[in-house]
Subunit: 282 residues, 4 copies
Amino acid sequence: MQNLKLASIGKKGDRTKIKVGDVVIGEGFVVVAGPCGVESEEQTLRTAEAVKAGGGMMFRGGAFKPRTSPYDFQGLGLAGLKILARARELTGLPIVTEVIDPRDVSWVCEFADILQIGARNMQNFSLLKEVGRAAKPVLLKRGMYSTLKEWLNCAEYILAEGNPNVILCERGIRTFETYTRNTLDLSMVPALKELTHLPVMVDPSHGTGKLSLVEKMCLAAIAAGADGLLVEVHINPCEAKSDAEQQLTPEQFKRLMQKILKLNHCMSDPLFDTSITGGDQR
Amino acid sequence: MQNLKLASIGKKGDRTKIKVGDVVIGEGFVVVAGPCGVESEEQTLRTAEAVKAGGGMMFRGGAFKPRTSPYDFQGLGLAGLKILARARELTGLPIVTEVIDPRDVSWVCEFADILQIGARNMQNFSLLKEVGRAAKPVLLKRGMYSTLKEWLNCAEYILAEGNPNVILCERGIRTFETYTRNTLDLSMVPALKELTHLPVMVDPSHGTGKLSLVEKMCLAAIAAGADGLLVEVHINPCEAKSDAEQQLTPEQFKRLMQKILKLNHCMSDPLFDTSITGGDQR
Amino acid sequence: MQNLKLASIGKKGDRTKIKVGDVVIGEGFVVVAGPCGVESEEQTLRTAEAVKAGGGMMFRGGAFKPRTSPYDFQGLGLAGLKILARARELTGLPIVTEVIDPRDVSWVCEFADILQIGARNMQNFSLLKEVGRAAKPVLLKRGMYSTLKEWLNCAEYILAEGNPNVILCERGIRTFETYTRNTLDLSMVPALKELTHLPVMVDPSHGTGKLSLVEKMCLAAIAAGADGLLVEVHINPCEAKSDAEQQLTPEQFKRLMQKILKLNHCMSDPLFDTSITGGDQR
Amino acid sequence: MQNLKLASIGKKGDRTKIKVGDVVIGEGFVVVAGPCGVESEEQTLRTAEAVKAGGGMMFRGGAFKPRTSPYDFQGLGLAGLKILARARELTGLPIVTEVIDPRDVSWVCEFADILQIGARNMQNFSLLKEVGRAAKPVLLKRGMYSTLKEWLNCAEYILAEGNPNVILCERGIRTFETYTRNTLDLSMVPALKELTHLPVMVDPSHGTGKLSLVEKMCLAAIAAGADGLLVEVHINPCEAKSDAEQQLTPEQFKRLMQKILKLNHCMSDPLFDTSITGGDQR
């Protein structure tokens, strides 16, 4: 793809692997789970324990919430980050959390293991440049209106500043369909795999916005070749201050993980190593 | 969903099964394969043999081709249908072929085992009513601009005329993304499964328009819970008069079928029978 | 634009003019008005009289209504066409009415002065070919998902069959915006004017789906260079069986016509004859 | 519209007027013109003089350019702002310029008369809050993927911080159409007028991305009821470092202004004061 210097896959096909604590993204399959927002210490710590118990490998939660209305819950900010740090102490799970302001990047890095750039900020170039100078990996969500080309160029913005650790995350695009909150575009997984060396994750919770569709889209993402999943889990989804419709209970998450492991095991068969068109897929 | 009388899934959750020759759609997994268009007897019969040899269960091919330009290849018409009938004789595979004019329905039924309604004709209500009165099952593709609700209402048009055998086929919607020909919306598979008793198939060839993405989207469709796939196969894709970019060679199809069988076998594990939200998924 | 043989504007820039009764489309400005559907003789004749009295130049009404659900009002069919014929007798206004089935084209021509192809049938190629062989002009609405290129190719389908009298009608495309029913794409007016010699009309009633927006979009269409408008008028919009939200009362139509005439008069100033880039715009 | 406290139009229908130098936005019609980017002192000053000579009322130019690729021209930054200040000295025209980073707002205010928030930053809430605390009016462009509701909520973010002077600017949304760069959604003009008291401008240069369509879309925006226009003008469009395809020459701008004035004069007729549905439109 034109213009990409650092994000393009090379001739050898080497792929980026990102080590975060004990987890290596791009090697094996990674499930990141947690609530949409950090709402309280109890809600967060109990959810983190449930994620750990269910088999989640990283914990996610938002301390800064970009919301459509200025009058909606905007997140706990620093207090939320401190709660996330406690969740890490408690469970040992690395923390993924969103940063929305370039002025916050340096101090959010004190708490986060991975910095998330949300869909609305995908082309917030000031923020991209700032996280490109940070020492933490960046999880870059696709903008709900953005093409594959634009998305990869945003990864390039981060790489060009010197941060080689970028994870791309498909989270659904905006279309005319209203039954789902967004249209999860799983074809981006193999499309990215043929264009870039960066790991690719999928967020079916935001991608569908419907609890009843999350499981199947998780499985489909695995079959499509994703390196990992982001799944929203809440100790009590009905009381969530945001995304109440799409968060799993701990029990649902546990059952989902069993299926994820089963399917991953199946997909690890050497039969799936080579594509039907001849290319190496690992 | 409001307005649906016949297409809605009932309280018992019974699902429609459609027997066509030895194949039962909605029971086990069905792969329909064949060229975009019937171009010649040799191309068609050789492709049909390859589909059969590769493990395809039905043969598809277009005798009427709805094309953007009036000056593009429009299909062989009756001559094409006769070739398809010979392909069936040769291989025993049931034939799926598109009908585009209500005046053709009765005589196309003489050749076809399943009538396909293409994406451009999803809301061609005269045609829907006509196939609703035909004695053959109907494969109803989603319009590239159509919502889930509109699509199900088109199935209702067919059902309301007395034909109970409708198969829904997701084939991608039109979005702003240009890397893929369409955006394959796999979330429709579980969405349809919770709304209707009709079987659901997926067409990754049109859904992506890119050979390199077809395999992964086939596997993702299986994991999403589809009842079957439509895959374009051509004895010599480079020389195809339409869709040259997305048709598989017989060898590629054979390798794809191995993966499809492997993944289906995995997904037949009882673990996948119950959804994480508690519902029966079979 | 590639592939267009007959629809492309020539080097001389000559434009098609279509004479229907006393009206010449492509010369002066034409307002076509009437109800979404022909519901009864009284509703239709009274509306036709109101359209005539208000200054409308043609009368539109649907006898065949393509509806999302099979259980919605589908139009009066032949009975509706007979009512339209009476409306013409009564008012002298030419009749524009939709045809949705290729089998109906020949006999609908007995009643209609202009055959309308609706948005859902823009790529119903059987229907396009049939109206291409009819002796009446065709008003071809843009499909709600269709590109400019596809639309012009559909005009080409009609022209290629020998019917030179095609009018293009922008009626809004489907986007993510839900405040309006469709997104009226007025940029298509000058875009079509630079590509084709065919006249271009605009339908703000369907294009917005909101009564409160119709007036301004009518005026904007005139300023954009359209050759005419389609406006929905109903003697009693609240009781309309379809499109109740977007039809004007006779009184509103009358006031709209005054503004249309005023703006047209202004736009007839020679200042507007030449484009700022130098081209002749007449 | 739910959630809006400050942006909603009140019962009296009073509208916000924003005085900037000698210009009052929301009273009379305002044309803002200038190059996409500030490239050099000569290019900027000569264009500013041409805008002034042609009848433009404000001067726009970007010192910070948000670009798809990190390797494209990113603007001159502070040096560009100083050039804009000189353009203001030279011509007396107030300056509209984009700010893309919350850290820049305070010092960009030293140079700008109106702060522009670009489409990609519409939901950059940190930036919105920052300009909400600034002492300069804000021109808020619609995001290319944003609904009317989201857009108005972004205005609400600014108003809620204490800045009452927000101008909304429609600049086209992203759709499947590729002939135009974006789809200019003029129906937003009357839609906004019925929901909010804030002034509404239109940017046909970005909205179409095609020089040949700019003129007609300018006129259509006026007829739709816009309070002003943003038009890209460049002393030498062929050599522009961005948006070369859509910038007008000074001569074209001059001719455009004549038409704008003519049409505005026509639209000032009292006939257009009251809407056909009875509401006051002024």
